[in-house]
Symmetry: C2
Subunit: 393 residues, 2 copies
């Protein structure tokens, strides 16, 4: 049978990471591949209590259809938290609850991208965004991500030459690189976008996970009309509930509502109610503090073992938060070859290729430290190091 699919389907690859995850389900494998939070930190008991309270006290309402925008107290909590964390005033009326923050990217694609529109993105860039946007058939203009944020010279050139529909970035503890924009870069990026009138899609899925240094302002705080922020409860509560949000200026927000309505009416209302109840009854700050401490510890172990065992010509990032670090091997090295050797030793990671839209990056890889305990990090990195040495020898 020959099916006449839309042209976008040819341009949208399956996520290599999710394909890898299937391989790494085997518990024998030490996996640094996924982007999974540490499940030992899920507040299972408290979510259980919250679920029981919602279903016991207001079950009928929590199970009925609801508004497209989302549960009002949850929108208010999110707005309050921006105010508290960074003094950023966002009205709850400009926040919509999504099916995880991945759905925000699909909504952004719907809102802005016509076929063959230019879209600016970091290099390396978040695979999920490349995938989500690809459904709307843009062409990507990459902006190299340096240690302190995007290369602003290239960004300026891309904005001037191509006038992209948007610039997508992850200023805090980027997936995949673990890098963050410096305070200065945030202002510079905002100034460039403001001059050109081009929206910034600020993916802040990891912003709450800073374990070193002080919080920096969101780029969107300098861009009242152009900053669109996406957030997620996946990393601070639990990803299985698929609960995220998008905050957008009023002129954009209306269109977000239309796109969300057409896409799936509204997000799971029971889950919104459970999360809202959980947040009302518990101290989320101390919960997040605990996550940060655990991730810092795991990150420090991984950095230490890499420093001790990897060959000196291998470089890597030392993130101040989030869940990933990024390894660059010498030019010509293939992390895909490394993957095939490592998997035989029961260690997995994500080769860097899929984070590049230009076919480069084959000597890079992403390592996740949030989902492995000390013992597995030590053992897994040691095995990975041996595999690297065996190739470089």
């Amino acid at each position: 049978m020959i099916y006449r699919f839309a042209s976008r389907m040819e341009k949208t690859p399956r996520s290599f990471i999710r394909e890898i995850l299937k391989v790494t389900e085997d518990p024998k494998i030490i996996s640094f591949a996924g982007g999974l939070p540490n499940p030992a930190l899920f507040p299972v008991k408290k979510l259980n209590e919250a679920a029981r309270a919602v279903l016991t006290d207001d079950g009928i309402s929590a199970l009925q259809y609801s508004t497209t925008e989302g549960y009002q107290p949850l929108r208010e909590f999110i707005a309050q938290r921006y105010l508290k964390r960074s003094g950023l005033a966002i009205s709850p009326e400009n926040i919509l609850i999504t099916n995880g923050s991945q759905q925000c990217l699909d909504l952004i694609g719907k809102l802005f991208i016509n076929r063959n529109d230019p879209v600016a993105i970091e290099r390396p860039g978040y695979l999920g965004a490349i995938q989500a946007f690809s459904l709307y058939e843009p062409f990507f203009k990459d902006v190299p991500l340096l240690e302190d944020g995007p290369d602003t010279e290239v960004l300026r050139q891309v904005l001037d030459t191509h006038s992209p529909k948007l610039f997508y970035g992850v200023p805090n503890f980027q997936n995949p690189s673990g890098l963050s924009y410096s305070g200065k870069k945030r202002e510079e990026v905002a100034a460039l976008l403001s001059e050109s009138g081009i929206p910034f899609i600020e993916d802040d899925a990891y912003g709450e996970l800073r374990f070193r240094g002080n919080d920096l302002p969101l780029v969107s705080s300098y861009l009242p009309d152009l900053g669109i922020i996406t957030g997620s409860f996946s990393k601070i509560i639990a990803p299985g509930m698929r609960m995220g949000w998008i905050a957008a200026p009023p002129g954009v927000f209306e269109q977000v509502v239309t796109a969300k309505q057409a896409s799936d009416l509204h997000s799971n209302y029971l889950a919104q109610r459970i999360i809202s109840k959980f947040l009302a009854d518990n101290d989320i700050d101390s919960h997040i503090l605990h996550i940060r401490e655990v991730y810092r510890y795991q990150r420090d172990i991984m950095v230490k073992i890499i420093e001790e065992t990897f060959p000196p010509e291998v470089t890597f990032t030392r993130p101040d938060g989030g869940m990933f670090l990024w390894v660059t091997l010498p030019p010509g090295f293939s992390t895909m070859d490394l993957f095939n050797i490592a998997i035989k030793e029961n260690v997995a990671f994500v080769p860097g290729d899929p984070f590049y839209t230009d076919g480069s990056g084959s000597n890079t890889m992403r390592l996740n430290y949030s989902n492995s305990d000390e013992e597995r990090i030590v053992e897994g990195i040691t095995r990975l190091s041996k595999a690297i040495h065996s190739i470089l020898k």
Copy 2:
């Protein structure tokens, strides 16, 4: 601020129904407007038990990221139910869990519709599908829905002349009309689509809600390679959990997985686990039987009061299941004018216009009977009748 939105956003109207729902939240208003199930029938206590069991026994796993396709036992339940209800063999491997069945329509749009592609749809057609597909900028070719199903002469002509990418229909208790395809029409529609090699998107959200007559085969049962079925737990368990599914032939299914992955990774996993546990521990057949009895009763009351009070020149459908009936007033009558009069009498319904892609249907309206009890149906229809008489006089 001028934003450069994608062209699709101009073509996608906000749902008029959801706008109406905001007006009708006032409990003084007797609303036949929404498509809400009767919340008194939600199995709140049993879902509460299921939630507690899942979170107590396997909370950590239920809160982690999961597979794009969905929870395997839930996929198996759905496959088993097709087999049991209608002898239709669908592999669980060809079923994907979605964020309500509305998301199926978004995925179908992604898979098949390029800008300016022809898409065939019933007239009147389901508003949610018109809205979801509109994001992908097709042009609609309407096929009139007669008492026994689509006008097959027109369907043949549309298929021959335009070779649409798909034909979308609701063979059981259609939203908005309440009409169903006869057994003969199902075979005829299948034969026409089979000849032309054009997929049928069979929206079966209401199939379980038959309260008169016998189940008829799904059109897809005659279309092994071309039938794509969408289903929902919204009408038989609870809509707030946003849980639906899509069943597609293998060659299509792969692309469904890619589109779902890019759209939101996977559906709420905790909700999948809760629904699966609820289904394992309870007799869903007796629960559905109860819903059917209640809806039949409510439908019968509404039909009776309409027969007694509406002017004789008004015609309406007498559905064998589902949640809606469809009223046609004399040519030239405006149900939008009627709406404005009725709302002052605290009665609401949905004017027919938005169910037409060609601007016609302004003398039609949709009435929902599932979400009003006997007293409100009697009182509401009586008031509505007075408003109609006041215009027709």
